[in-house]
């Protein structure tokens, strides 16, 4: 099955843009999402804390990782927001495509002397911070493969696990192309970001977005967030930050666009994100065909084995 632009469509012809969201009909509010603008993230981890507090997510101490300020590692059953810290050496002024102003240069030299470090010698230190979260995909593999119906599409277009239905089969864990879902030890079920489904129903914004002090995490109607992101990208490009790019905003990408998308300052894989993820169920038709043919071959072998005795 192909869409108008020739790209293979996700499994099941009925699944169009909103992907289940539309089944709520006229009563559905506009699709909600996150725009995480990492260019203004300061790595305070207020989102991680607020998420844990509001959603009662258990702690999971990991000790000191030695990986910059990241001691929580990755998203998982007990971490529904995760702030990544990336330390890079980049040539001075490279980020802006032009040398720094004399004032900036003087300030840097003063700082260098004061700190007794020769920062400029092998390039500047660049610190990237980014708050990762479940992407609430348009074509969500976790939702497709869930055998119990525990995962469902809410009226807000988000993807949520029903904790009273999940039986911990673990299929969504391997289906998610972003490595978001995981099984909680000692509990057996899978847990992930609900985009604060309970708060949305009371017209409140998700805890992480409310706690974010720099508006790096923005919550709202997805259509509006996409416009806001495009504007922000244009401003950054105009200012010379040519490495800025949007991630997960394209409705024509392999997951049909993300409900939670990002503005990044480097390649996605630098942040631990897959560069071009595709929902696995897009190839479902060919997989079932292959299984059907293989089943036919197995039956034919059984019959042929018996018939061979007649000769």
């Amino acid at each position: 099955m192909k869409t108008a632009d020739g790209r293979p469509q996700a499994a099941g012809g009925r699944r169009q843009a909103a992907d289940g969201h539309a089944s709520y009909g006229e009563e559905a509010p506009p699709r909600k999402g996150f725009f995480t603008d990492t260019s203004i993230c300061i790595g305070c981890k207020a989102c991680e804390v607020a998420c844990k507090e509001w959603n009662d997510v258990p702690d999971e101490p990991r000790g000191f990782t030695g990986e910059s300020y990241d001691n929580s590692g990755a998203l998982g059953a007990n971490r529904w927001r995760h702030v990544a810290f990336i330390e890079q050496r980049v040539p001075v002024g490279a980020e802006h495509g032009a040398p720094d102003s004399l004032v900036q240069e003087a300030a840097r030299l003063a700082l260098t002397e004061e700190a007794g470090m020769d920062v400029a010698a092998d390039g500047d230190l660049r610190w990237l911070m980014s708050s990762d979260v479940c992407k609430h995909c348009t074509h969500a593999a976790c939702l497709d493969v869930c055998p119990t119906g525990a995962l469902f599409r809410t009226e807000f277009g988000t993807v949520v696990v029903q904790e009273d239905v999940c039986n911990g089969c673990g299929y969504c864990v391997v289906a998610c192309p972003f490595g978001v879902l995981d099984q909680r030890r000692g509990d057996g079920r899978v847990w992930k970001c609900t985009l604060c489904y309970d708060r949305l129903k009371d017209d409140m914004q998700p805890a992480c977005a409310q706690a974010c002090p720099t508006k790096s995490i923005q919550f709202g109607d997805l259509d509006e967030l996409r416009e806001r992101a495009a504007d922000r990208l244009e401003i950054l490009h105009r200012r010379g930050t040519t490495s800025a790019r949007l991630y997960g905003d394209d409705p024509d990408d392999g997951v049909g666009g993300c409900g939670a998308f990002f503005l990044l300052l480097d390649e996605p894989q630098v942040y631990g994100l897959p560069p071009d993820p595709v929902v696995t169920t897009r190839d479902l038709g060919s997989m079932w065909r292959s299984a059907g043919l293989a089943a036919g071959a197995l039956g034919a072998m059984a019959v042929a084995a018996v018939l061979g005795a007649r000769r």
Binding site: V165, C166, V174, P177, A294, A295, M301, A302
Partner: protein, 309 residues
Amino acid sequence: MKGERAMVPRARFQPADSYYGRPVLKPPVWKPQVPFYLFTGGLAGAAAAQALAAHLGRNRVLERRSWMVALAGATASPALLITDLGRPERFLHMLRVVKPTSPMSMGSWILAAMGAATGAAVTSELTGRFPRAGDAAKVTAGLLGPPLATYTGVLLANTAVPVWHEARRELPFAFAGGAAATAGGAALIATPVRAAGPARRFALMGAALETAAMLTMERRLGPLAANYHGGEAGRFARLAQVLTIAGGATVAGWGDKRVGAAAGGAMLMAASATTRWAVFKAGFASALDPHQAIDLQRRHGETRAATPA
């Protein structure tokens, strides 16, 4: 600095092609029950097909033994699957919905129906009661057997794990072949030689199909085939090859003797079980290596960019 011991690990500047080498995907949370189920499910499915074929070919001895094998497989399978769940007491939630996009949902229904039909078929076979209903159950179980043996290929392929998803064409055939080798091997152990001719051919055809499918898979996997050459998966894969060759040769050469048939059958069963373990373990290695998913997606992106819409 001499004599000073660092109390914390040295801070690292990360390489630019991943986030501190951390996996992009989550590794499976599936326990050893799953590869054993891949084996028992295939055994049950192919044994039912073999039993139905023997029924049609009027090989009564082979038929009855094969139904017993199928029942054993169909009994062990749900037990393995239920104990693998994070919440085993909720196993019936598997039958809340019918979802073609979820191979696990479809597989649960196939296994439930096939297991019930096999139970009915065996009951009728042993008691001699309700022969008509027994025949209907036999046909049902025999026809549901092959899909039971091959849907597991889709179960693994329908994931984000590169080495499984990229093997989506070959995995069902590998599992079909392995199932035939297993069911044929079990029948060779359980059946007197004079009735075991079809089982011999079934086992050898199955081993050949399994081997061919695995070789094709490795060729098409390209760089991802490395998952089958090293580590735990590599050890299982090499052991499976040895067992397949030894078992196949034993069945082909001495399959008309009781000892040869039983030994060869056992080796082919072990080979197929080992192959399932190789496939299972390859998935862990593939999910834990961030570069596999990243490189694959880049390659696909380039192919897409090069292909005019």
